[in-house]
């Protein structure tokens, strides 16, 4: 099993979720994070002075999936999250050794 972690632009969240649902993924965990990267931040004023804020609000999605699903999932995220502008984000794939559903104790693919 794999953990697919996608860092995306916040306003793409609904699109990505729908795209994932279309390929059969209904479970995921979302967190609000801040990203630094090539994308420029914005400037803020404070009583006439100017400051640069480098970090940008991003959404992080963690999606545990079966190995077989990796390609469809990547594809779905790519398509839904892409704007073509800098800062669209990244997808990381990491191995998972075990998944357990707390409610039932099921493990492995059954737990997804």
């Amino acid at each position: 099993m794999k953990m697919v972690t996608a860092i995306i632009k916040p306003f793409k969240m609904d699109d990505v979720r729908e795209a994932l649902a279309e390929v059969g993924i209904t479970g995921l965990t979302l967190s609000e994070v801040k990203g630094f990267g090539r994308q420029r931040g914005h400037t803020e004023l404070y009583r006439g002075a100017e400051y640069t804020v480098d970090f940008l609000p991003k959404i992080r999605l963690d999606i545990a999936i079966d190995d077989a699903q990796v390609d469809t999932v990547l594809d779905a995220i790519m398509k839904a999250a892409q704007t073509g502008k800098i800062g669209d984000g990244k997808i990381f794939i990491q191995p998972i050794e075990q998944v357990i559903r707390i409610r039932t104790g099921e493990s492995g693919s059954d737990a997804l």
């Binding site: 803020e44 004023l45 404070y46 009583r47 006439g48 002075a49 100017e50 400051y51 640069t52």
Partner: protein, 456 residues
Amino acid sequence: MKTALLFLTLLAAGLGLGSPGFAQEAATLATVSEAVAVADSADQAAPTVDKGDVAWMLVSTILVLLMALPGLALFYGGMLRAKNALSVMTQVFAISSLIGVLWVVYGYSLAFTAGNPVIGSFDKLFLSGVTVDSLAATFTDGVALPELLFMLFQLTFAGLTAALIVGGLAERVKFSALLVFSALWFTLAYLPMVHMVWVEGGLMFDKGELDFAGGTVVHINAGVAALVGALVIGRRLGFGREHLAPHNLTLTLIGGALLWFGWFGFNAGSSLEANGIAVLAAVNTMLASMAGALAWMAMEWIVRGKPSLLGVVTGAIGGLVAITPAAGLAGPMGALVLGALGSLAALWAITALKARFGYDETLDVFGVHGVAGIVGAIGTGIVVSPALGGVGLDGYSMGAQVLTQMTGVGLVIVWSGLVSFVLFKLIDLVMGLRVSEEQEREGLDTSTHGEQAYKL
């Protein structure tokens, strides 16, 4: 420290304190200033109390309380980082309360009884002799207020003034030290200034200084103390490196708007009656703050490309500060101009001046209250001119009046500067003025007050 003293000396010098000769030539008759000779029911035709005045002054009194709580507490708290939001609110609450109690114990007596040109007497300690039937004179012959009401109105001024100072030392000052400072500064700087400026026989009152609602007594006084405090305590950790950004500007908006709202009590209430002068003061208060808001907005838009909410709010406060000494004296168009100038002067102080000297006066109390206060105090001498729509004065001469105003400004800068400097230094020696580095990092809310503002 050297910088601090140098700075104050320069300011004082530039303002003509060095030339009392001129000042003494100034008009000495202040018909519409805030002196109050408490009525002696025997020696004049019994003055009458109008219930309309009582209603208005009760309202004005609580409006000034509202300026401190929650007004100032929110205005300040919102501009700090979340970890220090409650600390400044606690400070404002505690200081207002402490000063209020000291006011009835000895403050009112020292400020508003006859004494020497600098301070009053202990005749009304614990409000002795001030009963439900005591009367205080207003600026109109034959019209009096219940003395308790005058006393209460002035109580709220004292508390607010002391509370203003905390903005300069926010995010690093020790709570206990601040309370001690407040009590002493109130005694040694605020009470004398009230007596000198607002009470017949007071030094500046007799010189004819005009300060309708507290430009020198309240705003410059507190602004200078805040600057001195900031210089003595030193910069915050991270100042100049990190963007020490406001954590909740919605609080600052609420606080700023309530300050504005309450300021009508502060300014129009200073007429002590629900009369035409109160109305004029209200009109001027409205227009000066609006002009201040627009002036800052325009300038920030031009210079930085963006008009910020904090700018608009700060500009409005700057306008309010500037009109305070002139509230019942200027005409509406004078108020528009003075408000705009006060706001722009504050903007200049906060950006250029602060950057130039590199001090970290957390919430720009000096920039907003001190500098706009100076513009207002001196400008009062100008906008009072009937030629400019002001109410005028007997024997008014603009040059002379402006010099008197400058003398008053110089006096409060030096007095408040010296008292504050000595007190801050002394307190620093005796009990420490600043929290430890670790406590500052953790934030004052948990380290000093055992609380966190938010658990969202």
